[in-house]
Symmetry: C2
């Protein structure tokens, strides 16, 4: 099975997620929540559907995810003045502090991966190859 790209990709992804999940167990943060906070931190004010789409999450499933972040006081929905149907998403001050902590935990996790891969060049090579599969324009 080691010659099958999809299989090995899946096993590697599960391994990396396992490390990720353990890293964030204390913060009670799951991968999807991490990604939502990261996106909001980088570009505040986007509406739900925009963020869900970027992450490949169905907007229906995004609701409960965002409910959780809002209940924890990390992010908030604001009624958009221009379009009263939509919510623009922002971090709370506490959410901004949380993201700082989260980023530092993530760096440790990423550092562990770099060591396994054999250095930063290997990580860059992996990101490049994955980007080719995805046809990523920012590659």
């Amino acid at each position: 099975m080691g010659e099958i790209v999809g299989y090995k990709l899946r096993r590697a992804q599960l391994f990396v997620f396992q490390d990720f999940i353990e890293s964030f167990a204390k913060m009670k943060l799951r991968p999807a929540e991490f990604s939502v906070l990261a996106i909001i931190a980088r570009t505040p004010g986007q509406k739900q559907t925009e963020i869900a789409e970027q992450l490949g999450i169905k907007r229906a499933n995004f609701v409960a995810l965002m409910d959780g972040l809002e209940r924890r006081g990390l992010a908030e929905r604001r009624k958009a003045a221009t379009d009263k149907r939509s919510h623009s998403l922002h971090l709370t001050p506490e959410g901004a502090r949380f993201v700082d902590k989260m980023t530092s935990v993530w760096r440790n996790h990423e550092e562990r991966l770099i060591e396994r891969l054999g250095g930063p060049e290997a990580r860059a090579a992996l990101l490049d190859l994955l980007g080719r599969l995805l046809d990523d324009p920012e590659r």
Copy 2:
């Protein structure tokens, strides 16, 4: 998010699985079933728990999977003479023909990935990097 190994790995895995699933839609074969048939074909006679463990599937969840393959006449459980608790797994003759077809469909899928990656060397490089993450001894 493009700089986060786990995230990009996940997206790439989903993309590859999507192509895989579409490739095998006509054969009504899911990734887990593919992997079980491939393992049985390569090493017939192993018992359920051994195969499940190799694939990272819990033995409880393996039961329904194997039920399905048996119901379709592709694989079968044989009572092991030495240990009457265990089942040794084998392909049926129809299962063997199915695996041939399956392998050729898989090759097309894999060929598509190689093109995206930019050639067989790129695929080899990707498998190597993923193997490093997994600490794969057969790398």
